[in-house]
Amino acid sequence: MREFLKYVLWFLLILLSQVFFFDQLSWPGGFTLSFYIYFILIIPHNTNRIVLLMAAFAMGLAVDAFNDTFGLHASSALALGWIRFYIYKSFEPSVGYPENQTPVLSEMGWNWILKVYTLSILTFYTWFYMLSFLRLVGPWFTFQKIIISSISTLLIILVVQVLNQRRKNKNEL
């Protein structure tokens, strides 16, 4: 129960930071920064897949409600929620993930995080921009947007992870 509440709080915190901060900045070059997918990435390994799908869908819908995108974020978040299982599975150690392990830097290490997060974020943005921009601007410009958005989102998520790790280390000391 306590774990569950913790993730509800994470949900709200990440949603608020998305709509209050990341959506309010106007980025040069006009790309989208969907920091909220961080929530979908940090849901624990042993979570039921249907719960995972629903959490991702709810997050996408909430972001849609603030952005007037009529289901674009919900669709992309849902796609990530579905494909996350397969990406995480393909990088699973042969003995499986330990019980109650969460996919964050302090528990998985740099190697795993870099590979898995990059792949997940790229998948998300590919889906996102294919849906929204491909018809409008063509493949080359879409590709640029996918790359720029993915790199900047990855960087921000890594910074948050490192800060989180430091905080945890301090608490342990």
Binding site: G30, T32, D68, G71, S75, L78, F133
Partner: protein
Amino acid sequence: MQNLISIFRYLRVFLIFLVLQGAVLYVYFTSEVYPSIQFVNSTQGITSKFLEVHNYYTRYFGLIEENQKLQKAYEQLLLMNPKSYTRLTADKISIEDTVYKQSFSYIKGDVLRSPTHKANNYITANIGSAQGVKRGMGVINHDGLVGYVYEVSEHYCLIKSILSESINIDVSLNKSGQFGLLKWPGTSPDVVSISGIPNDTEIAAGELVVTRGTGGIFPKGIPVGKVTSFDFAEGEANWDLRIKPSVNFRAIKYVYVVNHLLKSELDNLESLVE
């Protein structure tokens, strides 16, 4: 039967994914054609409250610039005032009263949010059906053309800005009067394009593009932007025309919704030939 159930059980995650994805994609792709009233957007409930609060705290940032614009607008208004004219003949001003009938009125609203980085950019403003805004009305501001009203709730409206896929507004070149359709190529909020202007039309860079005033949504002659470049369109007898919008969508603070007072008369007349 047993097999069927086990297949469903095996595929249940994928099926849930498929159903949700199908539903949400249906809403997404139809929203460009029909306003999707059922779907949550920023004119409703908590999201609009949030935007209102956000706007309250951020609206002070552009005050100096807004003030200068207001002063300029007031100066122009003063020039139009009959008091600033010397009466030449006794009947000149009374003639104006009978020749001109007011056909447009304007409803002013504050912009709560104006994104520019999406494929379809919707502006949220704090005027709604309570103030007389209706779906499909044109929207302008002091700089020029903004877009049209896409969806209305009681106190808010969503405006489809000209930075949107398939915006297709009738515009014309100010000098030659040649007309075409306004489009957004989607690359930058500083670039919109016009299609359908034949390439034997003489154009100069910097030429003003204005609304054409067909359909009764916008008054005629509202500035849209200035021509920045023109090139031969591939395989067409048209110019590939790029213009810079007069409105800066990154810093838009307020808008005027255009209410055409004679629109029903115009629509009735035009429906006779359709």
